[in-house]
Symmetry: C2
Subunit: 413 residues, 2 copies
C-alpha cells in the first residue's frame, strides 16, 4: 500500500501530463471508462458484495446499506454519467482575455486545470467514478479518499479506470485511491501542501467541518444546507403550499431541501392550515414557535431547531412580523446554500434577492433546483457554500484555474 | 478597545449595507477619502512620527523605517490611488450569465461582493488605505490587522476613513482596524468563521505561511516569488542579458524579481561573461553550479539556493542540458508566481508556457511586469500564488463572488 505522500506525488506528476491532453483524447478515455465499467460489472458487483457483507455484520442501517449498494442499474448510470461528461464542452485552453499593453507586451488569460484535486467522501462508491471523470475532463488528476465502508468497491472501480488510462498510454496515477481509510490518512491528505491544489469534501456536516477546520491545503466547502422558505404577505398561498411541500418532502435527505419556513404574520392564519393538510400525507413533524402553535397543532420549536439541518421529514416554522425579520433570521441561521421567497410583490422580491446572502436565491420556485444538472452545467462535483472560487453547483469550469501568458520582444520594466 | 470578535461582527453587519451601495455613492466616498487624507496630512504625519520614534528606539533597520515613513508625497500618492480606484469600472451587479430552463425558471448568475475581507499586513501603513478602498469599491467591508510598528499611523488613517463613511451616512464599521497587535489577535482573526469571508495576508514569507497553515477561514495566498528566467539554446543573448538584468536588479526586494537563472549548456560559454559584465554595476553576487563556476567566477550554489527567494542583489545560476531540465527544475522549486523563457524558437516557447505551472509565464519579457497596474487591472490588492479563486495580480473582480438568482412562477422539482 502506497503512502498518502507517495500517491499525491505520483498524482502531481501525472497532472502535468493530463493537463496537456487534447479534448478528443480525454473524451475517448471517458467513453472507454464507460465501456469498461459496464463490461466489468460482474466483478464490480462482486467486490461491492464484500463491502455489503461487512456492513451487515456491523449492523449498518438499511438506508446506508442502500447508498452503498452497486446494482446493475447504478453501474449503468455511472457509465452514462461518464459518457455525458464526454459530451460537455472542454473549458481548458479557452482564452478569457487578450490585451496588448502600450509597451507592446501581449497578455492572454487562459483557462488551465487546477492540477490535483483531492476528494474526501463517505459511503457512496459511485462518487469514485463521478468525481474522477469530471476531474479528468477538466484536465486534473484526482486523489480519492473514500470511506472504509466502500473500500472494496472503490478499489475495484479505481482499478478499472486506471487500467483504461494505461491502455490509452496515459499515466494511471491521474486517478489515485488512498486505500488506507483510517482517520490518519485523511489528516495526511489535508496537509499535502504543494501536492493537492484543492480538496473537496463530500459528505455529512461532520466530515465537512473536520476538513474545513484542519486542512492546510485549499478547500472548497460543500453541501451543508440549512435552507429557508419565506412566505411573504403578498404570496400566492396556493403556490406557497405547493412549493414548500415540494421543497420539504420531495427528498428531505438532500442539502437543497427546506428546513425552516418563515411565514408573514398577516397570512399565517390562512396559510398554516392549508400547509398542514398538504404535509400530512408525508407525516411531516412540525416544530413551530408560539404563534404557529396558536394556529395549528405542532411541537414547540427551540433555538436548536433554527440551526438544524434535519435531513428528515421535520419542518420548523416561525411567524415573522415582516420581511425584514425574515431576512434577519436567514442571515443569522442560514448556511449560504439556497433560500426562497414566495411573493407576488416585486419590491419584496428585490429586497429579498439583494439582501439574502446565499449561493442561490429563489423567487417563487423550489430550492430543490440547486443542482448542477438543473442549472444546466451538465454535471456537478458538489455544491459550494463558500464564496471563494466557486459558489453553488460546481461543474467543469469550477474545476479550473487561470494562467497569464505574456509574450514580448525583450520588454523590461 | 473592541475585541476581534466584536469588530468582525460589526464589519459583517456593515457589509450588508456596503453591498447595496450604488457605484456613484461608492465613488463619492472614495473621492472624499482622498480629500480627507490630504486635508489631514499634518495629523497623519504627526501620528506616523510616533511610530518612527518607537522604531528608532528599537533600532529598526533604515530600510524598514523607510517603509514605515509617511511623507507628504506618499500621502498624496495614497489619495491619488483612492481617486484612481473611483474611476475603475464597478464589477458589482454585473450579470455573468442568464438562462431560462425548459421548465421556465430563469437563472441569472450575478457578481456580488465577497462580504468581509480580512487583511493581515506588516509595516507599510499605506496598505491600510490601499486595501480598504479596493474592498470598498468592490462592495466589501474590511477588517485590517496591521503590524505593531505602524499602529499609530494605521489608527490615524483608519479614523479618517471611518469619519468619511459616517459623513456619508454609511456605517463606519465597513472599515475596521484591529488595534490589538499581539499574535493572539492575528490568530483570532484567522478563526472568525462565518464573519470573515476571505483573509488575505500581505507581507513576508513567514507571515504568509503562518496564515495559510493556521487559518480556518478561506485564505488567498499571496506574494512569495521564487521566480526563474530560462535562457534557451535559441535565445537572443543580448535580449537575455538585458531582460535578466532588469528582472534581477530593477527592484530586487519585490516578489516578481528573478532569483535563479537557468542557462542552456550550449549558450552558457558566450552568455555568462556578458551577463557578468551587465550585472557588475549592481554588485550582484552570483552563486553558480559547478559548470557555471568553470565559465565565470562565482560562489558555489547549494540546494538551499534553488529554493531561496533572496529579495536581494544575489542571483543563482544553474546550467541545464536542455529545456526539459529547466522545466523540471522550475516545477520542483518555483512558488507558482512568475517564470520566463528567452527564446526565438516557437516550439520551445510553447512547450515552456504549456508546461510551467505559474500565475504568469513570460516569453521574451521581464517577470517584473506581474503587477495589477502593468496588467491593466488599474489597481492590485496583492498577487495570488494559489490556483483557487484568483491567480496572479488581484484587482476588483478578484474581490467578488457570484450569486444565482432564480425566478419562477411556482416551479417544483
Amino acid at each position: 500500500m502506497n503512502s498518502v505522500f507517495e500517491l499525491c506525488t505520483a498524482a502531481k506528476s501525472a497532472s502535468y501530463e493530463i493537463a496537456l491532453l487534447d479534448t478528443e483524447k480525454k473524451n475517448k478515455i471517458l467513453c472507454d471508462i464507460a465501456d469498461a465499467i459496464i463490461s466489468k460489472k460482474d466483478m464490480l458487483i462482486c467486490e461491492n458484495e464484500r463491502d455489503i457483507a461487512i456492513a451487515k455484520e456491523n449492523n449498518m442501517r438499511e438506508s446506508l446499506i442502500d447508498r452503498l449498494t452497486l446494482t446493475e442499474a447504478r453501474i449503468e448510470a455511472m457509465a452514462e454519467g461518464a459518457r455525458q461528461v464526454a459530451t460537455l464542452p472542454d473549458p481548458i485552453g479557452t482564452t478569457l482575455s487578450d490585451i496588448t499593453r502600450p509597451n507592446g507586451i501581449n497578455i492572454k488569460k487562459v483557462c488551465v486545470p487546477l492540477g490535483v484535486i483531492g476528494i474526501i467522501f463517505e459511503s457512496r462508491p459511485n462518487v469514485t467514478l463521478d468525481a474522477a471523470v469530471l476531474c479528468l475532463k477538466s484536465g486534473n488528476a484526482t486523489v480519492l479518499r473514500g470511506g472504509k465502508e466502500a473500500i472494496y468497491s472503490n478499489m475495484a472501480i479505481t482499478a478499472v479506470m486506471r487500467e483504461v488510462l494505461a491502455e490509452n498510454n496515459v499515466s494511471p496515477d491521474a486517478i489515485c485511491l488512498i486505500e488506507d481509510t483510517t482517520r490518519n490518512s485523511a489528516s495526511e491528505l489535508m496537509n499535502m501542501k504543494g501536492l493537492i491544489d484543492v480538496l473537496i469534501p463530500r459528505g455529512g456536516a461532520g466530515l465537512i467541518r473536520a476538513v474545513v477546520e484542519n486542512a492546510k491545503v485549499p478547500v472548497i466547502e460543500t453541501g451543508a444546507g440549512n435552507c429557508h422558505l419565506y412566505v411573504d404577505k403578498h404570496a400566492n398561498l396556493e403556490m406557497a403550499v405547493n412549493v414548500l411541500t415540494n421543497a420539504k418532502c420531495s427528498r428531505p435527505s438532500v442539502c437543497n431541501a427546506v428546513e425552516t419556513a418563515l411565514v408573514h404574520a398577516d397570512v399565517a392564519e390562512s396559510f398554516l392550515p392549508k400547509l398542514k393538510e398538504a404535509l400530512s400525507p408525508y407525516n411531516v413533524e412540525i416544530r413551530g414557535d408560539a404563534e404557529c402553535a396558536r394556529i395549528i397543532p405542532c411541537s414547540p420549536a427551540t433555538d436548536d431547531d433554527w440551526e438544524t439541518e434535519y435531513n428528515d421529514f421535520i419542518l420548523a416554522i416561525k411567524i415573522v412580523k415582516d420581511i425584514k425579520e425574515a431576512i434577519a433570521h436567514i442571515a443569522r441561521y442560514n448556511t449560504m446554500h439556497s433560500e426562497a421567497i414566495i411573493t407576488d410583490d416585486t419590491a419584496s422580491a428585490e429586497l429579498f434577492t439583494k439582501s439574502v446572502d446565499a449561493a442561490a436565491v429563489y423567487v417563487n420556485a423550489s430550492t430543490r433546483f440547486t443542482d448542477g444538472f438543473e442549472f444546466g452545467l451538465g454535471a456537478e462535483i458538489g455544491i459550494s457554500t463558500q464564496k471563494m472560487h466557486a459558489r453553488g453547483p460546481m461543474g467543469l469550469e469550477e474545476l479550473t484555474s487561470i494562467k497569464y501568458l505574456i509574450h514580448g520582444n525583450g520588454q523590461i520594466r
